[in-house]
């Protein structure tokens, strides 16, 4: 059982230079209250692992605008001209990763795999500097696992065990990232009593959730 954590206390846990996985897809399924609190706390030189950098003024875009980000590992920055500009000036180092490969690298980090073999990226810029392994006569790129210091997870509901339920397309990377970080902070829209979420509706078991964020104000 976990008691809910104050949003400011959660943000204060994140030091300069931390690596954060942040759930969401174009700011849908992103932990918005945590991001606002991190912008207020202002840790520097963050590495962000996420699907995308959203848009200026929304979700992860707020961390970019606040100048807190040193490096991003993402699949898409097309809707955030600020990220593109910061990449071009070299202020933010951006690793672009095919979305499916990003998913599998995060999953590998969470489930203890040493890497995965994928054809995605063969013969493209993505293959540069990577090992090619042949299996059954076909070449594959060896892609290595990703892990983070913190995973910031948006969920629809949590109970006080930390079991998480997601909703429609707000699920996306959240359950994968919750497996792949040393400290997992879940930001639910609602917290319900233990026993209310049916076992088959739980997508992230509470055993791997370190902290539950307090209810929205």
């Amino acid at each position: 059982m976990k008691s809910a954590l104050k949003t400011e206390a959660a943000a204060a846990m994140i030091p300069d230079g931390a690596t954060l996985m942040i759930g969401g897809f174009m700011a849908v399924g992103t932990p918005h209250r945590l991001i606002d609190a991190i912008v207020a706390a202002g840790p520097r030189d963050l590495t962000i692992i996420a699907n995308d950098s959203a848009m200026p003024g929304k979700g992860i875009g707020k961390l970019v605008s606040a100048g807190l980000v040193a490096r991003m590992v993402v699949s898409h920055i097309g809707l955030n001209p600020e990220t593109q500009a910061e990449m071009n000036t070299g202020r933010i180092a951006v690793d672009l990763v095919p979305q499916g490969t990003l998913v599998e690298r995060i999953r590998a980090g969470g489930v203890g795999l040493g890497g995965i073999l994928t054809p995605t990226g063969l013969g493209t810029l993505v293959a540069e500097g990577k090992r090619i392994i042949e299996v059954a006569g076909k070449p594959y790129l060896l892609e290595e696992p990703l892990r983070a210091d913190f995973a910031l997870i948006a969920a629809r509901r949590s109970d006080y065990v930390g079991n998480l339920e997601y909703f429609l397309t707000a699920q996306n990377f959240n359950p994968l990232m919750a497996m792949a970080a040393d400290t997992v902070i879940a930001e639910p829209e609602a917290i319900v009593p233990v026993g209310v979420i049916p076992p088959d509706a739980v997508r992230t078991p509470g055993a791997i959730v370190t902290h539950i964020l307090e209810r929205p104000a």
């Binding site: 849908v28 672009l96 493209t124 699920q171 990377f173």
Partner: protein, 207 residues
């Protein structure tokens, strides 16, 4: 009819009933409008839903149901929601029957470049590399030229999306099947001559 509407309508003829289809953002997303509702076609949005429906009426948008471009959508009866691992597992595992994507360049053998213009525009590949590599059939839907210059070229000068060739290219000038022997002509759009096509096509046409 605008070129993009012509292209979208023509691509729609390639979509068989009962299939699972992923449409890229922009022009490819228009294809959905030309598929009959009773065709049993399910559209995937790679951010995590199969059974994507049209934009909801104003006031009925849900912030937790969007497409891969972040736009509001609905869910048809029989829709399924999933995480990114399942969504891309479907794409990379060969479970998506058709993907329709835009293109910046395609060569005569079908190699596509659609994710960056070095030094100018680097949006990232998103799911494009996975879709081209993983879908059973890959269709490129694009205008035939960009500011007068051919988009079907002898060799792509832009970074490739995949080394796997696409299966079909649909433009306002016709339908083309790229192959090792060059660009095969499946059909020419009404009023387009071979000479007119050749003048704005950078790849050799197959014999």
């Amino acid at each position: 009819m605008e070129p993009k509407d012509y292209i979208a309508a023509r691509v729609a003829q390639e979509i068989l009933p009962g299939t699972l289809v992923n449409l890229g953002i922009g022009l490819p997303s228009l294809v959905a409008g030309y598929i009959p509702a009773d065709a049993g076609v399910f559209f995937q949005a790679e951010n995590g839903v199969i059974g994507m429906g049209a934009r909801p009426p104003e006031g009925m948008e849900d912030p937790d149901l969007t497409d891969a471009g972040g736009g509001f959508i609905t869910a048809v009866p029989g829709a399924a929601a999933m995480d990114s691992a399942m969504s891309f597992g479907l794409i990379r595992g060969g479970h998506v029957d058709v993907t329709v994507l835009g293109g910046l360049q395609v060569d005569g053998q079908g190699r596509l470049a659609n994710w960056m213009v070095p030094g100018k525009m680097v949006p990232g590949m998103g799911g494009a590399m996975d879709l081209v590599g993983g879908a059973k059939r890959v269709i490129v839907a694009m205008t035939h030229t960009a500011r007068g210059a051919p988009k079907i070229v002898g060799t792509c000068t832009l970074p490739l999306t995949s080394e796997r060739p696409v299966d079909l290219i649909v433009t306002e000038m016709g339908v083309f099947a790229p192959g090792p022997g060059g660009l095969g002509i499946v059909e020419l759009a009404p009023g387009i001559t071979l000479e007119a096509l050749r003048a704005v096509t950078g790849a050799p046409l197959a014999a």
